[in-house]
């Protein structure tokens, strides 16, 4: 599958375009609708986190979304140049505890990990942050 790239402004009204872009590519790759929805949601969550946390809603910043395949898997690479972070500090909430205390926020990371086969971060301080989402076609 040929690599495709989309640049968007860091604005929440652009999320719909990201979901559409990723859905078309995932469908073409061979995923059924249920998995296409899962992939689009995971990418939405990753971009939402960037808009909110890395760029703090600064609409002049931009996000790059690259879709392609690697070793037979569907892969989405999402890049930003916002505030760097330590991936080790990202906590996946314990949902039982979360629901019991009516918590809010932090659900995006949990969803990304549940929806995709792999979620990997690569931070190059002062340059860019990357999150790589991978999903394999069902056998």
């Amino acid at each position: 599958m040929q690599q495709q790239k989309l640049h968007i402004e860091s604005r929440t009204d652009r999320l719909i375009a990201v979901r559409e872009f990723v859905s078309v590519a995932a469908r073409r790759f061979g995923f059924a609708e249920e998995d296409v929805s899962k992939i689009a949601l995971a990418v939405d969550e990753a971009c939402t986190n960037i808009i909110k946390h890395a760029y703090k809603f600064d609409p002049t910043k931009s996000i790059t979304v690259i879709v392609g395949s690697r070793n037979g898997a569907f892969e989405i690479l999402i890049q930003d140049t916002g505030k760097e972070f330590d991936p080790a500090m990202i906590q996946t909430p314990d949902m039982k505890e979360y629901l019991a205390h009516y918590r809010r926020g932090g659900l995006g990371v949990y969803l990304m990990k549940s929806l995709m086969d792999k979620v990997e971060y690569k931070i190059t301080p002062g340059q860019k942050n990357e999150v790589r989402l991978t999903k394999f076609l069902p056998r």
């Binding site: 604005r11 929440t12 009204d13 999320l15 719909i16 979901r19 249920e34 929805s37 949601l41 939405d44 969550e45 939402t48 808009i51 909110k52 949902m95 039982k96 629901l99 009516y102 918590r103 809010r104 926020g105 659900l107 995006g108 949990y110 969803l111 549940s114 929806l115």
Partner: protein, 119 residues
Amino acid sequence: MSDFRIAQREHESVHVLELRGYLDAHTAPKLEEALQGLLNNERYNIIVNCKDLSYISSAGLGVFMAFIEDVRKHKGDIKLTNMTPKVYNVFDLLGFPLLYDILKDEHEAVRRFKEATPR
């Protein structure tokens, strides 16, 4: 272009919010505003009809989390109805069916509210 809409109406003294379209980080503030409006008017028996809701992300789920405690403190509830399998799957993935009453339709939700109201 608006990709998310909310229609409001009364159904046997219960307040109904009908959601249509895409509920994400961009549109979640609209739902937040609608629910806040109901709470400001002391309306605590709320049905959210999701029949025409095509999409939900964690930003939308977070709105329900933000209000449920307050609503229940006032002996009310937010009951969710008519979810498509696609939207239900997202709720289910996060274990939300343990916390929220997710029902087939509005009639069932109204019945639950009546059962909960002391005569």
